[in-house]
């Protein structure tokens, strides 16, 4: 199987999967919620207006027609109008999405830089007290609920010591013409510290433990013995020769983590009142803002699929055996 064929097959698979998810989402919403405009009626729409809205969503049509309207709207990038904001969903969603990205990327960057280094050190100190305590603290970091560490951080740094801001992206009021002027400030970085640290600590354990495990495997390979025979220092062997080859699973895990993080850290955004995608979704559920909830989920699922796809591609690039082995079984 060639490289191009491999990528093409994956893309087709990706699109099919996404289509299935959209379909499931559609029927899930229709199942629990036969008439999404019911929420609007309370606000005093007249019968004609209601009929107009229903026609817009195609609710007067049979289910399968509604389904095709739903797919058509999705392809045209029309995600409807938010009940809560009384404005188009898409621009609002993009803003929240970017807010989430600028929180998650720095956090993941931190944990995937420090984590592997710690992992190498753990494998180096195999069988010592350092390795033991490293593994245990890694497990603790993974199992401490991230919203809880967030609350503790707020309590300690925000309330007791009062040194760091604990909510929002910027000190209000602030004026920013666009997204870039909003985040290229010290104030933003200042607000970023606590939430990013919380997430980074949570994500730190996984790359550390993965790195340790693969390092232990790699250290058994012949070429490491050769390096030792050459008289290279353990530090050089560890970081230059072994770590490079052990990085592969960490890199793919990083890509998957980014995909999951877009939707996966709802709680951190809630705890720190970060105006991101996850918090928006919770708000949409609280206010019964169905178009917003539905579109947020579409975006999150899309990101997960895309990043999983990227992880596959990266893996295929770094370890070409995957591409050819794929068809073997």
């Amino acid at each position: 199987m060639g490289k191009g064929e491999f990528i093409l097959k994956r893309i087709v698979q990706l699109l099919l999967t996404y289509w299935v998810i959209l379909t499931v989402l559609f029927f899930l919403f229709r199942l629990g919620l036969p008439d999404p405009t019911a929420a609007l009626v309370v606000e005093g729409l007249s019968a004609e207006e209601q009929a107009m809205v229903q026609a817009r969503f195609g609710l007067d049509q049979p289910l399968w027609v509604q389904y095709f309207i739903y797919l058509r709207n999705f392809l045209q990038g029309d995600f409807g109008v938010s009940f809560h904001y009384k404005a188009a969903v898409f621009p609002i969603l993009m803003e929240k999405f970017l807010n989430t990205i600028v929180l998650m990327l720095p956090a993941i960057l931190i944990s995937y830089t420090i984590g592997p280094v710690l992992g190498v050190i753990l494998s180096w100190k195999r069988g010592t007290r350092i390795e033991f305590s490293g593994i245990v603290s890694g497990l603790f970091l993974r199992s401490a609920p991230v919203f809880w560490t967030g609350m503790i951080f707020i309590m300690v740094f925000g309330i007791w010591w009062g040194v760091l801001p604990t909510s929002g992206m910027r000190t209000v009021p602030y004026d920013a013409d666009n997204f870039l002027t909003k985040i290229f400030t010290l104030d933003y970085l200042w607000h970023l510290i606590l939430p990013a640290l919380t997430i980074a600590l949570y994500y730190l354990g996984l790359p550390m433990l993965i790195m340790r495990n693969t390092m232990l495997e790699v250290m058994g390979e012949d070429y490491i013995e050769l390096c030792q025979a050459k008289g290279l220092s353990p530090r050089t062997i560890m970081f230059k020769h072994a770590a490079r080859n052990a990085l592969l699973p960490v890199v793919t895990q990083a890509a998957i983590t980014v995909g999951m993080a877009v939707g996966g850290q709802v709680v951190v955004e809630v705890v720190y009142s970060w105006p991101g995608l996850g918090r928006e979704m919770i708000q949409a559920v609280r206010t019964s803002d169905y178009p917003m909830a539905q579109a947020s989920f579409m975006l999150m699922a899309g990101m997960v699929l895309l990043m999983n796809f990227l992880a596959d591609m990266v893996y295929g690039y770094l370890d070409p055996r995957v591409v050819t082995k794929g068809e073997g079984r």
Partner: protein
């Protein structure tokens, strides 16, 4: 004949054959347990998890309180006023103090609920003394260190002779609420139904008042003159054994309110106070309404000098009078006072009514403190462990059964079946858990089943993949081919020959899924997606966040999180030790982990 014997023999061996088939299953179940126990990290993990499991089973026994009850606290509190300033509250005894009387400038007597009597000496040394009664005592007064009277419910009158308290026979069974002692030869006791008893040094005699209201308080200026107040605005002037009504100066709307206390400093100055912030003044001839800065109930009034007086009331009200009007003092104390009693230049305010023990820090009574509603956090955490483990175990079972079935079928049949099942797994990988659960809650109602369903539906994907790849390698082994050649059915091969071999792996996945499910449950509950009437570690934290009190009440935030951590870590440790079973490369040279069959 021979066929018959053979048939018989076959039947007889049926159980043995079943046993033979069961053996690998049993081995597969015991193998992981042995493995966990032999691992240095797995053993503490298993022990901790066992303890948590015991905790969930015995939660009702371990819980010291009903987690839903708003816990009240009862204690006797005094706040001293002296040298022109107020001290901080200090606790004296475990029962509320109902009344307090000064004997001289350093000694006082206090009575309270359930007949409790306390003596104060040297200004702040309190001693509980023996009491001859169990009834609530409502008033006490003393004329000298050697003579005091306390009165209470059911006609209780106690006399103090300087060494001990003695109960006095009384002609009535009504509740007494007030007493004033002018000397050892003169005292008045007032109570329900307009009852007034007079003490003449030897006998108690009832005085006719022509009033049927409950009388609450009495104050004497001399042996033969004083004022009694009570319900429905009752004010009675006492003079030489007879009673007369009050006269009012100007309009008063307080005549029908309950008056709780009266205090005369001299024959021509005094105050009476009562419910709805009522303050009445007395100028020697007339009563008049004073402007009150409070609208809630006032409970006690006392003078510390001719032009300085204090009033206390419910919710920590303290009012100060400095010659012309009443002003609010803020002592930062919010509980209900029962009264105040003063003597030249100093006073003691006392109480208190039972209060909701809200946001109490950890103590022997409440191990993890209380919430903003006075609920016991320790008990909530104990009950919360049930939800965590219930959801953890059920979700892990759902995950495992789904994953095992899909993985087994996909790995065994391969080809088209495998392809379809694995594409379904791909779809599952596209669904982020928390958002999916949020959508489910939006569409359905919050409940534990939605949480279990969400976790179960979304996390079997990893299991299915891992089991499938394991099955793929097992299918290639000779004994499977042999079974096929021998004509065993597909179901039989899957259940009898393959399943035992993947059970250790399934066991590992069970542990992994459980840790994941416990975290997920806590997260979803924290977001408020769990059922509100069920306690879980997540909902406790959700409630803490919702109340806003979590920013200071660390005892509310830390325990649930610690328990989540410990539980998940113990499960992680167990699952980590099980990895040895499935990944032989992790086995060290001297590892005693048993070999797989």
């Amino acid at each position: 004949m021979s066929t018959n014997v053979e048939k018989h023999k076959r039947q007889g061996n049926l159980w043995q054959r079943r046993k033979k088939q069961l053996r690998p299953f049993l081995e597969s179940v015991f193998l992981p347990i042995k493995t966990i126990w032999s691992d240095p990290l797995g053993r503490p993990g298993a022990v901790i998890f066992g303890l948590i499991l015991l905790m969930t089973i015995f939660a009702p026994l371990l819980a010291t309180h009903d987690p839903n009850v708003m816990n009240e606290k009862v204690e006797g509190i005094v706040i001293r006023f002296g040298d022109s300033q107020w001290d901080t509250p200090s606790q004296v005894g475990d029962t509320p103090l109902n009344a307090l009387a000064w004997v001289d400038e350093t000694n006082a007597l206090a009575v309270g609920t359930a007949g409790s009597i306390l003596h104060m000496s040297d200004r702040d040394r309190w001693v509980t003394v023996d009491s001859p009664t169990e009834h609530n005592l409502w008033a006490v007064d003393a004329s000298s260190p050697g003579f005091a009277i306390a009165v209470g419910e059911h006609g209780t009158i106690l006399q103090y002779d300087g060494t001990e308290w003695n109960q006095v026979e009384t002609p009535t069974n009504v509740h007494f609420y007030g007493v004033a002692v002018a000397s050892a030869q003169k005292a008045l006791v007032v109570g329900q139904s307009g009852t007034v008893l007079s003490w003449d040094g030897q006998f108690w005699t009832a005085l006719a008042t022509n009033n049927s209201n409950t009388l609450r308080s009495v104050s004497l200026t001399s042996e033969e003159a004083g004022v009694i107040v009570g319900d429905r605005g009752t004010i009675l002037h006492y003079e030489n054994g007879s009673f007369s009504g009050p006269t009012y100066r100007g309009f008063t709307d307080a005549t029908f309110r309950r008056l709780n206390a009266v205090q005369l400093y001299s024959a021509d100055i005094g105050f009476a106070i009562g419910e709805r912030g009522t303050i009445m003044g007395y100028d020697g001839q007339n009563w008049y309404t004073m402007r009150s800065p409070e609208s809630r109930e006032l409970r006690g009034v006392t003078f510390v000098s001719a032009d300085q007086a204090y009033i206390v009331g419910i919710r920590g009200i303290v009012l100060e009078y400095q010659g012309n009007q009443w002003e609010v003092l803020r002592l930062g104390y919010r509980r209900d006072f029962r009264g105040i009693s003063g003597i030249d230049g100093q006073a003691l305010a006392f109480g208190t009514d039972p209060y909701i023990n809200e946001l109490a820090p950890p103590s022997r009574e409440h191990f993890f403190g209380t919430t903003h509603l006075g609920r016991d956090i320790w008990s909530q955490v104990m009950y919360g462990s049930r939800t965590a483990l219930l959801v953890g175990i059920l979700a892990a079972l759902v995950v495992n059964i789904l994953g095992l079935t899909v993985g087994l079928v996909a790995g065994y049949y391969r080809g088209r079946v495998d392809n379809i099942l694995m594409r379904i797994v791909d779809v599952m990988y596209g669904l982020p858990l928390e958002p999916f659960a949020i959508i489910l809650v939006l569409i359905f109602k919050p409940s534990l089943w939605i949480i279990i369903l969400a976790i179960g539906l979304l996390t079997w994907r990893t299991n299915a993949r891992i089991i499938r790849s394991q099955v793929l390698t097992i299918v290639e082994r000779p004994f499977i081919k042999a079974a096929k050649v021998a004509g065993a059915s597909n179901i039989r091969i899957m259940l009898v020959h393959i399943a035992p071999n993947i059970l250790p792996l399934a066991f590992l996945q069970l542990a992994v899924a459980m840790g994941y499910a416990i975290t997920a449950e806590a997260t979803l509950s924290f977001l408020g997606l769990g059922p509100p009437q069920v306690y879980s570690w997540g909902t406790i934290l959700h409630a803490a966040r919702l109340s806003g009190a979590w920013r200071t009440a660390w005892w509310w935030v830390i325990p649930p999180g610690i328990f989540i951590c410990i539980t998940v870590v113990s499960v992680f440790l167990v699952s980590r030790s099980l990895e040895v079973l499935t990944n032989p490369r992790l086995r060290g040279g001297n590892n005693r982990a048993p070999r797989r069959p």
